[in-house]
Subunit: 361 residues, 2 copies
């Protein structure tokens, strides 16, 4: 009620007891038996005054700030980041905690400064997130603080981390195409040599092999992981009608965007003439494309949740074990309209071109 800062002292005065007693009843101190009547009185006054403990004082005393830090390289700049923050915040809230988020912009100096800032504020732990799945090394400052990595792995077996299950994603993508009946597949992979590229290809190949697909029916080419890269790769790949893949898996949705364009230019309809599977389920792209893009979602929210939960158990446990848990989280496949059984009719060259579809080059 009364605005401003009402302290435990005022509650005590109002209830005609000592602050000790107030603290006892408000915190439900185990060993303490308090007269029901005074307890009521205290509770009533506290409520009436709108008392809420000052957590700075509380933290100082208990050495527990109920605060965690989320530091990321590009955490705030990228469309994916949000979900991670959200996941972390949701579990933080469940632990009466709130989260500081800081963006380092890949600057070591900024990172150091900000981590210091967090540490001086006695954060109970730190979530260290990378925007893109990659191996990192833990900043030295964090050696003695509960920390868990998100979207990043670490050689040190003592640090916990969560990453997407890339190869499961690759498998799922293959499964979607294969089970729709496709037998000539292609994977347009990222040129960069990163875990996501390795993992997705590995899974894709593995599942294709499991279906008995012949080597020559699975082409893998690499390109820049953007619309332009996807476009160029697709132009190259979609040329010969005989050998053209009927199902294409793209490293990410942005590349898929380029593949759509290439297909349109070549007068190929998605999904009738080519089925396409993306990766990321990127907001406004996957669902903005026409037809809607079937894609594998990255488990950002889930990683945030897992990591935060892991962090809180680490915080409340005495000493961290020498071997920290790690996880690879599988993202769901989001079915939209870019995958269909391969077209069985005559080959494209024999068909009549629709009049409104002049090819542009």
């Amino acid at each position: 009620m009364v605005q401003g800062k009402v302290t435990i002292k005022q509650v005590a005065a109002a209830a005609g007891v000592s602050i000790t007693t107030v603290s006892h009843v408000l915190n439900n101190v185990p060993g303490k038996r308090i007269h029901p009547e005074t307890r009521e009185r205290v509770l009533a006054e506290a409520a009436r005054l709108g008392y809420a403990p000052n957590m700075l004082a509380q933290s100082l005393r208990t050495q527990r700030s109920h605060t965690i830090g989320l530091v990321g390289d590009e955490i705030a700049t990228t469309p994916f980041a949000g979900k991670i923050i959200l996941g972390a915040q949701d579990v933080a809230a469940a632990h009466d905690s709130v989260v500081f988020v800081v963006n380092t912009g890949y600057e070591r100096e900024t990172e150091d400064r900000e981590i210091d800032a967090l540490l001086r504020r006695q954060v109970d732990g730190i979530l260290y997130a990378s925007m893109y799945h990659r191996p990192v090394e833990l900043p030295a400052k964090l050696a003695n603080v509960p920390t868990v990595l998100i979207n990043a792995s670490c050689a040190d077996p003592a640090v916990a981390w969560a990453v997407p299950d890339e190869s499961a994603g690759g498998e799922d993508a293959a499964e979607v195409l294969l089970s729709a009946g496709h037998r000539r597949l292609a994977f347009i992979n990222d040129v960069d040599e990163i875990p996501a590229a390795f993992g997705r290809e590995e899974g894709f190949r593995r599942r294709a092999a499991a279906w008995g697909l012949a080597q020559e029916d699975l082409r893998v080419i690499t390109a820049e992981a953007d619309p332009g890269g996807g476009y160029q790769a697709a132009r190259r790949m979609l040329n010969g009608a005989m050998t053209r893949p009927t199902g294409i898996f793209c490293f990410n949705d942005r590349m898929a965007m380029g593949v759509y364009r290439a297909a349109a230019e070549l007068n190929l309809k998605v999904p009738r003439d080519v089925s396409i599977v993306g990766f990321d389920n990127q907001d406004f792209i996957a669902d903005g494309l026409y037809p809607g893009l079937t894609t594998i979602e990255l488990p950002h929210y889930e990683m945030g949740v897992w990591a935060a939960e892991q962090l809180f158990t680490q915080i409340s446990s005495e000493r961290k074990p020498a071997l920290a848990p790690t996880t690879r989280i599988r993202g769901p496949v989001i079915h939209r309209d870019s995958v269909a059984p391969p077209f069985q009719g005559s080959s494209l060259e024999e068909r009549h071109q629709p009049a409104d579809r002049r090819s542009n080059a």
Copy 2:
């Protein structure tokens, strides 16, 4: 060096002085003259021990936490949010502060709970951000806390806010098209009755009028603010060759995405047959489309910066004035490749442009 928690007391002991002296030298207390030699000693020991003041204690004592809160309805879920966070963080860092970010998900209850959590942590102030430009009313809890609104306006003249300059955006869009030579324009506006819709239309019309454009040469229709909406509107609008607008301004980039598709289906080339201007400069869409979309960028980062700076001056000033500053920030136009002079040739069954206004590019 020594990890863990080194306190001022340890520094004092190591330097052979009292904690008062340590505090004095470390804080450069104005009125105090300290012997250069002891000052050196203190500094040296502090550095050697790697001392950093515990800000919880400091905050408790000084009643200044060097901490601000950024609460938003969807702050973390949307691709725009990041820039706001970034702007806020950048200026926070310049003020030795760090920012809590919380997402309310439009739930009043969550909002209350989280704001309480921030207040109990003694945040120095709060940035209250809306994901989409709209009027809001300030949560009652924030009445006595320095607060500034981002992407939201407020009827209360005592609260400060920053919003995008929508009508300037509309003007700029019109200018881009008109100065490229277009004389038959269209604006595909959002059906929702929101400030962005009003403002952009108003600006667009105003600038068109300033160029002397006749009423009938500026069509405005509304649609859902997504690719589907843009697509349908464009299909409707791009039909008759005679009356077809040569320049289209879309309420946002997502709608523009749909317009691209409609244009492609109608065998109209962008920008040769239709020039398109979007709004938002949304990552991965505006630059992912082909050809690249010319668009008006929303000043998220700038709003974050302005608001945070405003917040810090408010924090360090005694009492807030009855009339708080507000601002409308103009976003830059991002020139890409979706705008060109109207095509003068005859490849389409289009007749000549009205000869009255034959300007150039």
